[in-house]
């Protein structure tokens, strides 16, 4: 039986009169990549924020079932941005100091050691995203939540980010990631949760989804859920998804 690290029970979230999520039940397995997919406004970012403990559900519960840690859940926002005037090493050094971690370890983990002395404002989008991923790993949180880590990046940079994501789970970390890129999701994720209109319409392994819906994930999800695309797209606004 697979260990569960995060569990969402009958979770609902409303913003005023808008229902962003309704009755979502989701078990996030340990040491695996769980991908949230769905069209813009389907509730992906809202669910990610709830799973990361950044927001509270209007109804239902989100519970953490991992080991005790200084930092239980790491988080990468959709458009990570860092204070200009600092190098990559200094930026990660700041976050590392908050949890008594080693910035060198973080740099190595995402393959950015060579860029340690570069100013963060001079980095490419892909490298900035990797700095964000490294930040999310500070303090070795058992769970890492990544909001659209590939959005707005070129295919090569997206693939590099997802390669890091895949290695995190291979090393025993629990990863929850949202993405529009179904090809990369199919290649990287161990489970896929499909959201549509704030409801969880499917939750299975990529192979399971292929079996139940018939055909490659890219085609089946696109056929079942309006608005999901087959490749990288411009992501949602930072807070806008699902609201």
């Amino acid at each position: 039986m697979t260990d569960t690290r995060l569990r969402a029970d009958s979770v609902a979230r409303t913003f005023g009169d808008v229902r962003a999520l309704t009755g979502v039940d989701l078990d996030v397995p340990a040491a695996a990549v769980t991908a949230l997919v769905g069209p813009n406004g389907s509730g992906k970012t809202t669910l990610l924020r709830l799973l990361a403990g950044l927001d509270a559900p209007t109804a239902g519960t989100v519970t953490y079932h991992g080991p005790t840690a200084t930092r239980e859940v790491g988080y990468l926002p959709q458009r990570p941005s860092f204070r200009p005037g600092f190098t990559v090493a200094e930026t990660l050094g700041f976050y590392a100091r908050l949890v008594d971690d080693d910035p060198e370890r973080l740099l190595t983990r995402v393959g950015l050691s060579a860029a340690a002395d570069r100013r963060v404002e001079a980095l490419s989008g892909g490298m900035t995203r990797l700095v964000g991923v490294a930040q999310s790993l500070a303090g070795s949180p058992p769970v890492v939540v990544l909001d659209e880590p590939g959005s707005g990046l070129d295919p090569e940079a997206t693939a590099r980010v997802f390669d890091v994501v895949g290695r995190l789970a291979a090393d025993g970390r629990t990863v929850v990631v949202s993405s529009h890129d179904l090809a990369l999701v199919e290649r990287t994720a161990d489970r896929v949760a499909v959201l549509d209109g704030g409801e969880l319409v499917a939750d299975d392994s990529p192979a399971g989804l292929r079996g139940s819906w018939g055909g490659p994930l890219v085609e089946t999800v696109v056929n079942h859920v309006d608005g999901v695309t087959t490749g990288p797209t411009e992501g949602d606004t930072a807070q806008g998804d699902g609201q």
Partner: protein, 278 residues
């Protein structure tokens, strides 16, 4: 997490934020331009008056009104957008996933920026004090009454009181930055806060006196509620009073100090609440 562990984590976070803020300020070209501007203004005011050739207290009298305006302006320039920018970049959201209480973050930002503000303000004022020490020697007219003789300690009190005003103005600036949520709103909120600190309290008190709400018997205590009135009164009571026969009675010293400390506490409290509600 035990209370002790939380306290240690909070202190470590505060230290990290202080270091980041200091580094950010020191590397900012606009900060050094601001510091140079303060130096030019202070030197010009001192040169235009005759105080520097006479003694410390006359120098304080020359510098008092410009300092009253300059110090809050510097504090707002250094602090008005720092928390708003961290919010815009998503840093505040990310920090929620770290064991960093909002109070530790706000305190770190405050202490780091306070060092920068104090350096920008104190260096030129200290330089003027040094000039007085060098130039207003034994040949200068002695400025003395039964209360005491003009001396560097009085100038030190002026610097200390000015630091207190800077601390209060910076706390209000951070509160404005925390509640604004965007750089543009931070600028507007900062300017409103600056006007409130510099003139708002005095105007409110004038209105209260005009309406008869505040009488002459309670005026010196009520003045303590206005940051600039409290500052001005403290300088008169603790520095200039030595030059007159008796206390000018401009402000009650205890309430004035408490008033400025209260503005610091209120500003930090508002900033902490605003950050925790993000």
């Amino acid at each position: 997490m035990t209370h002790l562990t939380r306290l240690r984590a909070g202190l470590a976070a505060t230290r990290a934020v202080v270091a980041r803020e200091l580094t950010a300020v020191v590397r900012s070209r606009s900060y050094w331009l601001l510091t140079a501007g303060v130096g030019v203004v202070v030197a010009s005011v001192a040169a235009a008056g005759s105080g520097v050739d006479t003694g410390y207290v006359p120098t304080v009298v020359d510098l008092l009104v410009p300092t009253e305006l300059l110090v809050p302006a510097v504090a707002f320039a250094v602090g008005y957008r720092v928390i708003a920018d961290d919010d815009r970049r998503g840093t505040l959201t990310v920090l929620e996933t770290y064991p960093v209480p909002p109070s530790a973050y706000v305190l770190g930002v405050y202490l780091g920026r306070l060092v920068a503000v104090l350096a920008a303000v104190s260096l030129p004022l200290t330089a003027v004090g040094g000039y007085v020490a060098a130039s207003a020697g034994p040949a200068s007219p002695v400025f003395a009454t039964h209360g005491g003789v003009d001396n560097p300690a009085l100038y030190g009190r002026f610097l200390g009181t000015t630091a207190l005003l800077a601390a209060a103005a910076l706390a209000v600036a951070l509160a404005a930055s925390a509640v604004s949520g965007s750089r543009r709103r931070a600028l507007v909120a900062g300017l409103l806060g600056l006007v409130a600190v510099v003139a708002g309290g005095d105007l409110g008190l004038l209105a209260a006196v005009d309406a008869g709400v505040v009488g002459s018997d309670t005026l010196s205590s009520v003045l303590a509620a206005s940051p600039t009135s409290a500052y001005r009164g403290l300088v008169f009571e603790t520095v200039v009073a030595v030059a007159v026969e008796r206390s000018p009675g401009t402000v009650a010293v205890g309430p004035a100090v408490a008033g400025l400390v209260g503005w610091i506490s209120l500003g930090l409290l508002v900033a902490t609440i605003a950050v925790s509600r993000r």
